[in-house]
Symmetry: C2
């Protein structure tokens, strides 16, 4: 359910690398070629292009791109060109230091990557920042957000299909109890959400709904002003229906005056090779407007062209 489109016959890496180099030379930059190549290569192919480019021209491809491009187009091309684990490490570092809404970027990383991908981002974090991801997050972020985020980010969840249904029953009951006591940050709530496999959690939340009448996120809407509660609902959404979570990020990024390019870029770049097709469908279902059309109305120039290319919508 990726939207990335890779041509059936990909040219040799040396050719991609040479065409990119030519796109940077002379007056101006040939953005169309950059999009044409990079937006149509998968992560492994982009990494090989970077290697060959650096060997051939004695300069990192990312460095060349940085020199030639600017603003939103620069950011989307740079983020896209990185390996997913490198990109996640970078986004996580920015997010930890930004605090505020950064917690949502960290939440996405913690809950919508596979267990192995999350671990690979932690490995990259060591290499790039000489510290651990959890070290920075626990240092910069405090209170209830920290209580929930650090175990989410350090988890290595089991990913098999096994479900223990008596456990689902007993843990649904614990969740219900803590929610009725408004103990939303209770360590048992955090334990269940941060350690159980997604399959197990799903069984628990299904049982919650069957047994207690409401979906858990409905019961977590008691106080619309409570920002931690909003975050807790987002956590549950990310763990169970990530396409709905991402649809909402896109919707809010596009809606109203101006665009939140950061959110738009992040979702498109991180999901294009994963599940952007499904997010796209969810967007249409929820807004009755195709995502591509909404993006066309809200962005322009090379940035717009890059977004559309990653969405699989070339002219």
């Amino acid at each position: 359910m990726a939207t990335l489109s890779v041509p059936n016959h990909v040219p040799p890496v040396s050719e991609d690398s040479e065409r990119l180099r030519k796109a940077f030379e002379g007056w101006g930059t040939d953005e169309a070629t950059i999009i044409n190549i990079l937006a149509h290569r998968n992560a492994r192919q982009r990494t090989t292009i970077r290697q060959v480019y650096a060997e051939t021209y004695g300069e990192e491809l990312l460095k060349s791109l940085e020199k030639e491009l600017s603003s939103d187009f620069e950011r989307i091309v740079l983020l896209w060109t990185l390996r997913p684990a490198e990109r996640d490490a970078l986004l996580a570092n920015e997010a930890a230091r930004k605090r505020g809404n950064g917690v949502y970027v960290l939440l996405e990383l913690a809950t919508t990557r596979s267990s192995r991908e999350l671990f690979q981002a932690r490995e990259e974090y060591h290499i790039r920042f000489k510290r651990s991801l959890e070290e920075d997050v626990a240092h910069y972020i405090t209170g209830d957000y920290r209580k929930l985020l650090v175990p989410l980010l350090t988890a290595y969840r089991y990913e098999g299909p096994e479900v223990n249904s008596s456990l689902a029953h007993s843990e649904a009951k614990i969740l219900r109890e803590k929610i009725s006591e408004k103990a939303y940050n209770h360590e048992e709530v955090i334990r269940i959400l941060t350690t159980r496999s997604k399959e197990q959690l799903n069984a628990t939340l299904n049982h919650y709904r069957d047994q207690f009448g409401n979906a858990i996120n409905k019961d977590l809407k008691s106080d619309p002003e409570d920002r931690y509660l909003t975050f807790l609902r987002a956590t549950i959404k990310c763990l169970t229906t990530p396409e709905k979570y991402f649809e909402k990020v896109l919707r809010l990024a596009i809606k109203g005056l101006g665009t939140d390019e950061e959110g738009l870029t992040r979702v498109v770049v991180t999901r294009a090779e994963v599940d952007l097709k499904r997010i796209n469908e969810e967007y249409y279902r929820r807004n009755s407007v195709p995502l591509v059309q909404a993006i066309k109305g809200d962005t322009s120039g090379d940035y717009e062209r890059m977004l559309l290319a990653l969405l699989g919508h070339e002219n």
Copy 2:
């Protein structure tokens, strides 16, 4: 600083495998051969022997050993034969379900393995138990132990030499404050101990001692009856001077009437390929009796012979 001794000329794997098979055949078992081979092969070599044995005889080597051996000798040979990550996963599972003193086994795993080794144990845990390590630990263990153990076990600590000395100062001050308030389970204490690199932590604790007069573990001795405080001191010992921690486990295992074979086996098996030589030295320094002599006085038979072989002391 391993005590494991591997001969200069290791026989071909097929020969090791055949000799082991012969040791199991006929009346009785040839324990000497089992020790002679397995106690003198490193982890990689033992794994290859297991592969070749299984291919040749259609039975797992561990299964054959289980059939032929019994009691303490069986346990030490089985644990030793496992790959370190497999063994850690197994020990951790036993420990989580045992609770009680199991927390110390979990503590050892969390603090005395490299970041990568700890992660590999978590991978093996998935494979063997179809759940995550942290899931079981957080489920079975509660209260302050859980608060400290889960982040210790899920950490992926940075292992570089970099030290931030102003951070060491400010975090020494936080530790001091919380200790004077007797807030030993405070989330900031837990954050510092569970996320900082060992080098950074060492700098912080050195600064603590210089600035406030006592080693931190001295200040943590306010209440000798408080079992969580004992655990907290062990955590700091494991993180900073693991050889002293393991010396104490051995000392308590051997001391008095009867032997704690479980602790003795665990320390010898898990450290023989790592730092048992250093633990050995520490044992002599602290007890004025060589560890080998203490073990001879307290154990017997094949179990004794296996321990001594792993300690590099054959007849």
